[in-house]
Structures are given as C-alpha cells and as structure tokens.
C-alpha cells in the first residue's frame, strides 16, 4: 500500500454559514396559504367581489334618498332612471334601495346559518371524535339518522308550521344543516388526536377542552373554513328557493330571494325587477364558491409548488 504523506491532506474550509443558510424566507403555514391564495386570480376576484357586495349592503341603502318600504303608487314599475337607479317595483318602491336592503337580509341569513352550523358542528363533531368509543357511536348514529332526512323537505315543513320570518328560516336551515360540519370536524379530530403533541399535552395534564380548543380545532381550521365558506352560498340558495315557494321573509321586508321571485312574475314587462336581484344572487353565490375553492386549493399542501 502506498504511503500517503500527511501533507496531501488538507482540511476543507468549513463553510458552515453556507450550509445552514435558509435560501427561502421562512413562512408560517397561514402565510404560505395567503400567498398561494393571492396567486389564484379567480379566487381573488371573488374576494374583491364579496368585499364590494358587503360594502354595498352596508352603505347602499343610504346612498339613495328612497326607502325600501315606502310605497309610491304614482310611480309604479318605472324603468331605471337617474331618479330611481334600478327602477321601481309594482308598489313604486325603489329597487336600488330594496336590492341593497335585501343584500343585508340574504347575507345575514347565509352568515347566520353558516355560523350556527359551525358552532353546533364543531362541538358535536369535536366531542364525538375526541371521546370516541360509545359516545362517538351514539352521537354519530343520531347524526346519520338525521342526515337521512331530506333537507329541503324538512325546511319546507318547518317553515309551514313555524310561519314565515327571518328567525324561523335560520332555525329551519340549521336544524339539520350542522351535520355536514360535524362530520368533517369529527374526521379531522380522529386524524389529529393520535398525534404526539396531543399525547404530550395530555401528559402535561391539559384538560380535554384545552386540548380541543388549543390543539385540535386550530389544526383542523383549514377544512372547517372551506366548509364554512361553501355553506354560505347554499344557505342563500335555499333562501331564494323558499321565497319562490312563498315561504320567504314576509313583506315589506326585502330579500334577494323574494325580490327575484316577484321579478320572475313580471319578467316579460318589467325585466329590471328580476335582473338586479337575480344578478346579485348569482354574483354572491359565484363569489363564495370561487373563494371556497381557492381556499381549498391554497390549504392543500400537495398543490404547493
């Protein structure tokens, strides 16, 4: 074997700095999500649309001097003009004022129904998933049986019995509406609860509710958020559907659903009465849908580039 002189060995310069350098900026999960969401043009468009719609729902009714409920029988069914920007309806009420007032009611119904679903769903699904065993079995069986009840039929029956109104509509929608959320939360909790950090937290003596609200729910936030965003348009859809069946909010209250279903009857002669509420229903549902889809894509780490 050849002798290798010691001089041939030279220590390589330790470039510790280079190896340890982080070439990409460090990002938290939610920052990463935000960046990817912003790159999605359609979703950003939907978000801007939603902001505009909410802005108009808040300030729109104050932009015109007309009131949503005041009849003006001298000026019925006027086409859009500089006086009445969106025209007037069969009782001479200003469609612009009614549209944005209706936006408040439709958006309120959508948001309220979605938030109540969220509350019940997270509690039910969370407890069911975390407890497991018998509790889980019983709670999920109850959910299964309720889930089998046809949603819209139940809502219709409840509206018939309870009578028309904002509160009854939200109640009717949420009575089985929470099940979807509960199932998703339960699935997430089942997946997350076997993670080591939950075990560590348990070992440290954390209470069940602390584990649930500090560890499980924040980590399940992604799917919860997506479900929430997508359940708002379906509530708005249901509101429009019920209004068309004559089970919407009572007069003189305006919602997009009641306005559109009135407008449908008058479409041939006074198309603007259908056009404005219908357009805004579609835009809102569209916006929530693309934002929800965008969120789902942004939250999915597999789609990361």
């Amino acid at each position: 074997m050849q002798q290798i002189p010691k001089e041939m060995f030279q220590p390589a310069a330790a470039e510790l700095g280079e190896a340890e350098k982080i070439s990409r900026p460090s990002l938290s999960y939610w920052k990463d999500v935000a960046i990817r969401f912003r790159k999605n043009k359609l979703a950003m468009f939907g978000l801007v649309l939603l902001v505009l719609l909410v802005f108009m729902a808040i300030f729109g009714p104050h932009m015109t001097k007309y009131d949503y409920a005041t009849n003006d029988l001298m000026n019925t069914n006027q086409p859009p003009s500089s006086k009445h920007w969106f025209g007037t309806d069969d009782l001479g009420r200003d469609v612009f004022a009614r549209t944005w007032y209706g936006a408040r009611i439709s958006l309120f119904i959508g948001l309220a129904a979605a938030l109540i679903d969220l509350l019940i769903g997270v509690l039910w699904g969370g407890i069911s998933g975390l407890r497991g065993g018998r509790t889980d079995e019983v709670m999920m069986r109850i959910a299964d049986i309720l889930w089998a009840v046809p949603y819209l039929l139940l809502v219709i029956i409840l509206m018939v019995v309870l009578g028309q109104g904002l509160g009854t509509m939200i109640l009717a929608m949420t009575i089985t509406g929470w099940i979807n959320m509960a199932r998703i939360v339960r699935g997430q909790v089942l997946q997350l609860k076997s993670q080591e950090y939950v075990l560590a937290s348990q070992t440290l003596g954390a209470s069940t509710s602390r584990i649930m609200f500090k560890h499980l729910i924040p980590n399940a936030m992604g799917p919860i958020l997506v479900t929430l965003t997508l359940s708002i348009p379906s509530a708005i859809f249901t509101e429009a559907f019920l209004s068309y069946l004559g089970l919407g909010v009572p007069q003189p209250l305006a919602s997009w659903g009641t306005m559109a279903s009135d407008g449908v009857q008058a479409m041939q002669y006074y198309p603007w009465r259908l056009f404005f509420p219908a357009t805004f229903i579609c835009l809102t549902i569209f916006a929530f849908n693309v934002v929800g889809d965008g969120l789902r894509d942004a939250l999915d780490p597999r789609l990361r580039k």
Partner: protein, 311 residues
C-alpha cells in the same frame, strides 16, 4: 353483504319513523285547523267532519292510526279537495314528475360526465376553462331564475320550444334542461377533479408505457375509475332533482306531484303536505340505499362492513 343491507334497512326504517313522527306532530302544531277557512263552519258540521276524519279522538290514537295506514301505503284524505286522497294525487302526479326527473337525470349525468372528461383531458386549455366557467354558472344560478330565463328567451322570444304545459316530448325539453342545470354543473366538476386525480396515477403511466393509445387509456382505465365518485353523487342528485321539480313544475305548468305539493303548501292542506313528504322521503331513502349497495358492487376496493372475508 346481506348483513350490511339489513343494518342499512334498519337505519332507514328508523329515519323514516323519525320523519313520519316529526311531520305528524309538526302538522298538528301548525296554526289553524284543517277546516278553518274564510267562513266559519257551523259547529255541528265541524263536529261531524271531525268525527268523520277521526280528528275527535286523542292524539295517540290518531298517531297510531297514521303509522298503520302509512305502513299499508295509505296516506289519508285531502282536506281541501273533497273526495281526493293523497294516494290519488300521488298516482296522478308522480308518473309525470318521474318522467321529468328521469329525463333531467339523464341529461345531467351524460352531459356532466362528458364536460368533466373533456375538461380533464384538456387540463388548463381553453376547453377546460370553458367547461368550468359553464359549471360555475350552473352552480351560481338558482333554478327558478334559470328556468324563467330559459323560458323567456328560448320559448317566448325565439319560439324554439313550447312555453309551458305537458303534452308532447317537445314540452319536456326546457323543464328538463332547467332542472338538470345545477346537478350537471356539479357532476362536471366532480368528474373533472376525479379524472385529473386518476390520470396522475402510476397505472396510467404503465398503460402508456405498454403502448396503449390515448383513447384506449381514457376509456378502459381512466373513466372507469374516475366515475366512482359520480356514482356516490347519484343519491344527493336524486334529492336535488326531486326538490328542484317543485319549482320547475310550477314555472312550466306541469301537472306533476311537485306542483301538487307546492299548491298544498300555499293552501295549507296539511294531510297532503304530510303525505307527500313521507312519500318523497321513502323514495329518497330507498334511492340512497340502492346507490350505496350499487357502489359496493361496482368498486371492488370497497368492502362493505360486515361482509365476508375475501368477498
């Protein structure tokens, strides 16, 4: 498999029992009796009517009777139409609704799948964007607006189709299209995403490496697997088409069960509302069960709980 079906049947009966009970008590709690109308009936007549329909008996006896009669497929009389029973209304209106629903289902499934496949095969090309814009439109437009707009432009303005009524096959096209629009959009999106997922699988690459043509791969390997989620969607789909028909039948003046139902809602004809609800629920629960069982047969990867080993 048999045990699975048995258990599912049991749950279905439980759900059904819950629905019947809930509707029965909700309808009793509803404001106004069955005979309260514009004119007050003389007390003797009201007493006779109550006796005739068994309304004078205590609630548990009425409730029990109702359960028994539903089990015998008898949904009771209508209080608003003299001499009509709910069964008459169902046998009168349901065939029409069934035909319309099936036509819509066929349109939704065939065009939806086609759009989804085209979009997935041309991922990120104009066909993809076109199909998805179409799908988003279908999801964003409530059915009664879609139906009215279709009716206005295609029937009233362009005279391509009859405006309303239910006489020939021509009359069925517009309502079926309007009814199919939203489910079609859902199916297109569902097919597209599941097709994209399947196409990225290893066995597709294997098939390509084997030298199969694009068409063969698509038809023999991709579509068959990509359609599984669509099969699961058939349950909710039938529910959507069924409830959608209430609105569509009203707009197009179709004498189906849906328009009877809507009419009974505005008339507050409680027995009809109750009977039709129970009938629809039976229909939907049965179709969901059928879809689930079919799914177990179609997808070999799924072993239904309680099935034998190696099945």
């Amino acid at each position: 498999m048999l045990r699975y079906i048995g258990r599912r049947l049991l749950y279905m009966l439980l759900s059904l029992f819950l629905i019947i009970t809930a509707t029965f008590f909700l309808m009793r709690a509803a404001p106004g009796g069955p005979f309260s109308g514009e004119k007050k009936l003389p007390p003797e007549i009201e007493k006779n009517l109550n006796e005739y329909y068994g309304l004078d008996r205590p609630w548990y006896s009425q409730y029990f009777d109702y359960l028994v009669s539903v089990a015998k497929w008898d949904f009771g009389p209508s209080f608003k139409y003299k001499g009509q029973t709910v069964n008459d209304l169902i046998s009168d209106g349901f065939p029409v609704s069934f035909f319309l629903g099936m036509e819509a289902l066929l349109i939704a499934v065939s065009i939806g799948i086609l759009l989804g496949i085209i979009a997935a095969l041309n991922h990120n090309k104009w066909q993809d964007y076109g199909a998805m814009v179409f799908a988003v439109l279908g999801i964003s437009v409530p059915s009664f607006i879609m139906a009215s707009v279709l009716q206005y432009f295609l029937a009233i303005k362009l005279h391509l189709f009859p405006v309303a009524r239910w006489e020939s096959l021509q009359h069925t096209v517009l309502p079926a299209l309007a009814l199919a629009a939203t489910p079609m959009a859902f199916i297109a999106r569902l097919t597209r995403s599941s097709m994209l997922e399947v196409l990225s699988n290893d066995y597709i690459r294997t098939a390509k490496a084997k030298g199969l043509s694009r068409g063969q791969i698509t038809v023999k390997h991709a579509i068959r697997n990509a359609l599984l989620p669509v099969v699961t969607y058939l349950g909710p789909l039938s529910a959507g088409i069924l409830t959608g028909s209430f609105v569509i039948e009203k707009i197009f003046g179709i004498p189906g069960l849906g328009s009877h139902f809507v009419l009974s809602i505005s008339n507050r004809d409680y027995t009809v509302i109750m009977g039709v609800t129970v009938f629809y629920s039976i229909l939907l629960l049965a179709s969901v069960l059928l879809v689930d069982i079919a799914y177990g047969f179609i997808d070999p990867r799924i072993k239904l709980a309680g099935g034998k080993k190696g099945e």
